[in-house]
Assembly symmetry: C2
Homo-oligomer: 176 residues x 2
């Protein structure tokens, strides 16, 4: 977990407040369902299969135990998990020694998309989390297929200046 982040915190959205808090292992089912509730993720194998529970649990435990990583969820008044994101603090040399905040795995429940929850989460990242972590740069990548998400990030002030490359280790398509 990122110890310098103050959580939980209440975030206003047009549909009412949500609470941003750290995920814990009791959220595993909800997190797996959030990942599977997305066509792009599902196409990469995130299908909430029961047989994948140990792999997801190991990933969650590893993430929460890491002092440079955190997994944050937005929950409604009834405690339902509505959205998730992973945060990573990355120190570095480039850009005059800038520290970066990397955001990964942003997912909002399909029933609550376009309700302002994602925007409230991103604004908390840029305006609260990044300064708390000493980060001068917030960065993320988004699949080229997610054109709606690209417009969303641009509206929030992100600049799509980079191409994101992935290499699947050991995958048939990654042999040279």
């Amino acid at each position: 977990m990122l110890a310098s982040l103050t959580l939980p915190v209440s975030l206003p959205t047009p549909g009412g407040s949500v609470t941003l808090r750290r995920a814990d292992t009791a959220d595993l089912d909800a997190l797996m369902r959030l990942l599977a509730d997305d066509a792009v993720s599902a196409s990469r194998g995130d299908r909430a299969d029961e047989s994948d529970v140990p792999a997801y649990r190991a990933g969650l435990v590893d993430t929460l135990a890491d002092p440079s990583n955190d997994l944050v969820v937005a929950v409604g008044p009834d405690g339902a998990v509505l959205a998730m994101m992973q945060l990573t603090r990355i120190p570095g040399l480039a850009r005059r020694g800038a520290t970066r905040l990397l955001i990964e795995a942003v997912r909002v429940s399909s029933a609550r998309r376009s309700s302002g929850i994602g925007a409230a989460m991103m604004r908390w990242c840029t305006d609260v989390a990044a300064p708390a972590l000493g980060a001068g740069l917030v960065q993320l990548t988004s699949d080229e297929a997610r054109t709606d998400a690209h417009r969303f990030y641009e509206r929030l002030g992100f600049v799509g200046s980079h191409r994101g490359f992935k290499f699947a280790v050991g995958a048939p398509g990654s042999t040279r």
Copy 2:
């Protein structure tokens, strides 16, 4: 530093072997010059200004002290620093609990570009470092202006499937 990486290691390149080793604070000058020896980096403020030494030193110390990060340099037989890259291990939930290896700040001395050093470093990342870190995915972003670099990564088996977004915290252009 990433304790599970075995360094130093010798890498063959068409122009002779280079040694891949961890950077240390004695490399600070060479690292600042490598970053400035690149038009895109220089345009972002990496100009090897003497006044920026404290900021770069703090970034280097922070990176080397972090158990999820490492800064690696390729040196020639005479000990000259020819190239650099930063590695970050990122645990996570997406892609069935996959751990990622993120590569940042890949720079090769302008005098040694297209000599195979960068390719040897990337192959070491995908074939040696990623398995050692338990990473099923290697990822990086590259400025849209670096079209030669994009072809380079594609030749190595990387897929440019994503758009990379950046948000400069506190920058005039990032206010909403």
